[in-house]
């Protein structure tokens, strides 16, 4: 199967610097919306994709070749919206309306319901690269994820990150990539009970951020040029810029720290992910884009998006949607249908798939099954599905593009990070499995808590020692 297997395994734990290898003979799908290419190749050097598809490159002698004959090769899955790495075990009060406690026993970091801050929250310290959830999803071919904090007491949840699922301690691909805000039913509740209040809160927050920005003066006057190496901030964090020291009015609502965090949002330097579901809420958000033209808005959810798809397309706002959400689960999702994604796509919207309110801390591996279900809709009269290639793109390159990272992750185009999965078969079939997973060109271990339990309990008959000795 694998030439140079021993070398590969030896190197698996460390980055393969200056190493070239090629995955050859498999059905290759690039993740850019195109259809799969039989007998394709993927060439990887120094952790980046060099070329992929129907190519035949002259490779240096001794180049490692991984034979993927009979397999499928795709970019790793990019979970469009998630809380991966934030909770080892979820809240235990999920099921009952009968008043459970929200005791998480320290196993969940995905919400801040009693915290003092909101927009200023940076999700990065909450991410544990060793969460079993990361290992479980890595073993199923998920290689990157957009990770958003959940809201606490305000409509702003804080700043989300893009992570990889590699078996190392360096999970962060892009810190503070986006701010996350709730402006639908949940936002209304947090704002005091109405959408009107949520919008007042939102506009005020952006104005407070704008004032801070103006009063901070031009960045060139910051004197940073004269700063010695030790005075430079360790982290390039907007919250730590001199904006933080600027003069502001006395009658403000946001803490200074939260307002400072919204400055890059107002400037359009940080994406703003907005969760709304209802058609009227979507149109309100499009309206905000007119009011604050610099905002780089991405809609999250948008279950009723298909009913106003033309207007979303005209506004040029990408959508990260639930794939197969088809129940009127709330009054803001009355028009929900599995055709939502396909119809928005047909109207010209850049749509990708996320796990909105759907086991977002852990079941990201469901995305490829959902993508397959969208393909199935093509054969249902009256429904709108998507092509196979587009379905794959919606769980690889499209979410990356939505936050301006299409040039780095999510496809097998030249120069992208070499996140590559070799599948036992068609990856949009839940019955297929990830057999080899590469992140930044590094082959990943695929064992986890679950695979170890399987080994222990695969055979039950009593032996000379208890099960606890099987390891």
């Amino acid at each position: 199967m694998i030439r140079g297997l021993a070398a590969l395994l030896l190197a698996a734990a460390a980055p393969l610097s200056a190493q070239t290898f090629v995955i050859s003979g498999g059905t290759v799908a690039l993740g850019d919306g195109s259809e799969p290419i039989p007998n394709g190749q993927v060439v990887i050097r120094d952790g980046k994709v060099v070329a992929a598809g129907n190519i035949r490159m002259k490779l240096p002698a001794g180049t490692q070749v991984i034979d993927a004959t009979g397999k499928w090769v795709t970019p790793g899955i990019v979970a469009g919206f998630s809380r991966l790495g934030l909770a080892e075990v979820d809240l235990t009060a999920s099921e009952e309306d009968g008043g459970g406690s929200s005791d998480t026993s320290g196993a969940a970091d995905d919400t801040t319901s009693n915290g003092l801050f909101n927009a200023a929250i940076d999700v990065v310290p909450a991410i544990n690269p060793r969460d079993t959830t990361i290992a479980v999803n890595r073993a199923d071919g998920v290689t990157r994820a957009l990770v958003a904090p959940s809201i606490g007491r305000n409509i702003f949840a804080g700043q989300g990150a893009v992570i990889d699922t590699g078996a190392d301690m360096d999970a962060i691909t892009a810190a503070r990539k986006f701010q996350f805000v709730e402006l639908g039913e949940t936002g209304a509740e947090k704002a005091g009970g109405s959408r009107a209040a949520a919008y007042a809160l939102f506009r005020n927050a952006l104005r407070e951020a704008g004032q801070l920005r103006r009063n901070a003066g031009p960045l060139s006057a910051s004197g940073a040029g004269n700063a010695s190496e030790t005075d430079r901030p360790l982290i390039r964090d907007p919250n730590e810029s001199r904006v933080y020291e600027a003069r502001r009015n006395d009658d403000v609502v946001l803490t200074r720290y939260d307002a400072a965090a919204l400055v890059p949002v107002v400037q359009g330097r940080q994406y703003l992910l907005v969760h709304v579901e209802r058609a009227s809420d979507i149109l309100n958000v499009i309206g905000l884009k007119r009011e604050f033209p610099a905002l780089k808005i991405v809609l999250v959810g948008a279950s009723e998006g298909w009913t106003v798809a033309d207007r979303i397309a005209r506004a040029g706002i990408p959508v990260i949607a639930s794939a197969v959400n088809d129940l009127p689960a709330s009054f803001e999702q009355i028009a929900a249908t599995q055709s939502n994604v396909g119809r928005m796509r047909s109207a010209g919207v850049n749509v990708s798939i996320g796990m909105i309110d759907d086991s977002d801390t852990r079941n990201l591996f469901m995305e490829r099954q959902y993508a397959g279900n969208l393909v199935a809709l093509q054969r249902v009269p009256g429904a709108t599905g998507v092509s196979w290639g587009e379905a794959l793109a919606m769980i690889t390159s499209r979410p990356a593009q939505a936050i301006g990272m299409g040039g780095e992750i999510g496809s097998l185009a030249a120069g992208r990070k070499a996140d590559v999965v070799i599948w036992s078969g068609d990856p949009l079939e839940g019955s297929s499995a990830a057999e080899q997973v590469f992140i930044d060109g590094v082959r990943q271990p695929l064992d986890d808590h679950q695979s170890r339990l399987l080994e222990r309990y695969r055979y039950l008959p009593r032996r000379d020692l208890p099960e606890a000795y099987r390891h």
Partner: protein, 465 residues
């Protein structure tokens, strides 16, 4: 019969005592039997036509596969099943199943459709009577809202023809379940599966101790869970003795207790125990408790750790009801493995899939496909046709309705799905669904697509969902 016997006994007792007394002691009134079905099913099957599906791949639900198969149904029941040689009766509607699959309708043994319906507002949230850990007196059917749009999604997208709606798991004794035909009706009685036994929802583990423990009440621990449950069974045994005596001897009718009525039904074997329980060690405790009080556990639901004790489940004839790959959403689901269902099957125990979810119920066939493939990768070779038992036969068995549905055996209810491809593929959808031989869903006919009252006049009414 029981009445006559009681009368004879009563008369005999009167004669005997008469010898020692001047006045004959008044004869005890004969026992009157309590109506055990006061909310009876009013379901009546809808008309169907004599139908023959030919050239389809058939999984009969009993572990058999027929390539180029033929399925004949009429008058609400399966008439015949066979290969290409099976003759079509005269006047039959013939459907070409080339490239398609025919299976028994999917049965979801664990659903909260109707008692936790869409929209999920608190006004409609009727699944947990979380006011006491012991509430066997509540009946899920009294919470079910038949207008839940989720029923139609389960039918059209999921091929689900029968489902058990259970109370939630806040309580140790959650109440009675109800088995429904997935046929829209104005009333819940109109959906009730005729002749299906009741189930009792029990729960062990985190939920009861959390819900009550957080209020400072018992149970606050797992040992509290078991103590409360045992004390309740002791009461139920006494209640049953009282009624047994009454039915034997007549006399004054004991005061009825709705909670104890349900538990008495369990002790009599008339009501099936559907026990929410995740962890292997806790399932073993529940098994011992069932033996202590003389009842049988029909199935463990959410049995995430069933694979650790599959041998114990086999020996005790208890089914395991499982997800394909849910894990870690709570501590007691931490030790999930994706091979759980095939491991249980492989050990010779009764295995099946369930949803517990209004979305998951729409793709149970895909959940089985995943579990099946995961099992094969672990070296457990179960065929596609045997795996269909996890979707219809075994849930029918655990609901006590296997004599009526769950397989395509002649004489059983014609609960049938025609799939537009291999149902173990993510690319496949139900094309037509029949319940008792009546065509309730047709992918190609917008008029054969149920729309609940709630959806009328709303955006997306009658849309493909």
């Amino acid at each position: 019969m029981v009445l006559n016997k009681a009368l004879t006994l009563a008369l005999g007792a009167g004669l005997l005592s008469g010898c020692a007394m001047l006045e004959p002691k008044p004869r005890p009134a004969p026992a009157v039997h309590v109506n055990e079905d006061p909310y009876p099913s009013t379901y009546v099957r809808y008309p169907g036509v004599l139908t023959v599906i030919r050239h389809a791949t058939v999984f009969d639900g009993d572990g058999r596969r027929i390539d180029d198969g033929t399925v004949v149904f009429a008058d609400g029941v399966i008439q015949a099943i066979g290969g290409p040689d099976l003759a079509s009766p005269a006047g039959a509607l013939e459907i070409d199943g080339t490239g398609k699959w025919v299976t028994p309708g999917i049965i979801d043994i664990h659903s909260h459709l109707g008692d936790y319906p869409s929209p999920g507002v608190s006004s409609l949230s009727d699944g947990n009577e979380a006011t006491s850990p012991v509430r066997p007196e509540v009946w899920a059917e009294h919470s079910v809202w038949p207008q839940d749009p989720g029923f139609s999604r389960a039918l059209a997208n999921g091929g689900v023809t029968t489902l058990q709606v259970l109370p939630g798991s806040a309580n140790l004794f959650g109440g009675r379940s109800v088995v429904l035909k997935n046929v829209p009706a104005r009333t819940t009685q109109g959906m009730k599966f005729p002749g299906a036994p009741y189930g009792l929802k029990m729960a062990c583990g985190e939920n009861p101790k959390r819900v009550y423990g957080s209020k400072g009440n018992m149970p606050q621990t797992r040992m509290g869970n078991i103590a409360v449950a045992r004390a309740t069974w002791i009461k139920a045994q006494a209640y049953k003795r009282k009624w047994d005596k009454y039915y034997r001897n007549g006399g004054d009718m004991p005061e009825r207790d709705l909670a104890m009525d349900t538990l008495k039904g369990v002790l009599e074997g008339k009501i099936l125990v559907q026990n929410h329980c995740y962890r292997a060690d806790e399932m073993a405790q529940m098994i011992d408790m069932s033996k202590e009080f003389g009842y049988h556990i029909t199935a463990f639901h959410h049995a995430v750790e069933a694979y650790k004790i599959a041998d114990l489940l086999r020996e005790n004839d208890i089914c395991a009801v499982m997800w394909a790959d849910w894990y870690g959403f709570k501590m007691e689901s931490y030790d999930a493995v994706k091979e759980n269902i095939p491991l249980v099957q492989n050990a010779g125990a009764c295995a099946m899939v369930h949803s517990d979810d209004p979305n998951g119920i729409q793709r149970l066939n895909q959940e089985v496909a995943k579990a099946l493939a995961d099992g094969r990768r672990a070296g457990i070779n179960i065929s596609d046709e045997v795996a269909w038992e996890w979707l219809s036969r075994n849930p029918a068995k655990a609901l006590g309705i296997l004599d009526k549905t769950g397989t395509l055996s002649p004489g059983k209810m014609a609960d049938v799905v025609l799939w537009n491809g291999n149902p173990y593929s993510d690319y496949t959808r139900p094309e037509r669904v029949w319940i008792d031989g009546a065509l309730m869903y047709d992918m190609n006919d917008p008029k054969r697509r149920p729309v609940s009252d709630f959806e009328l006049g709303q955006p997306g009414e009658g849309d493909t969902k």
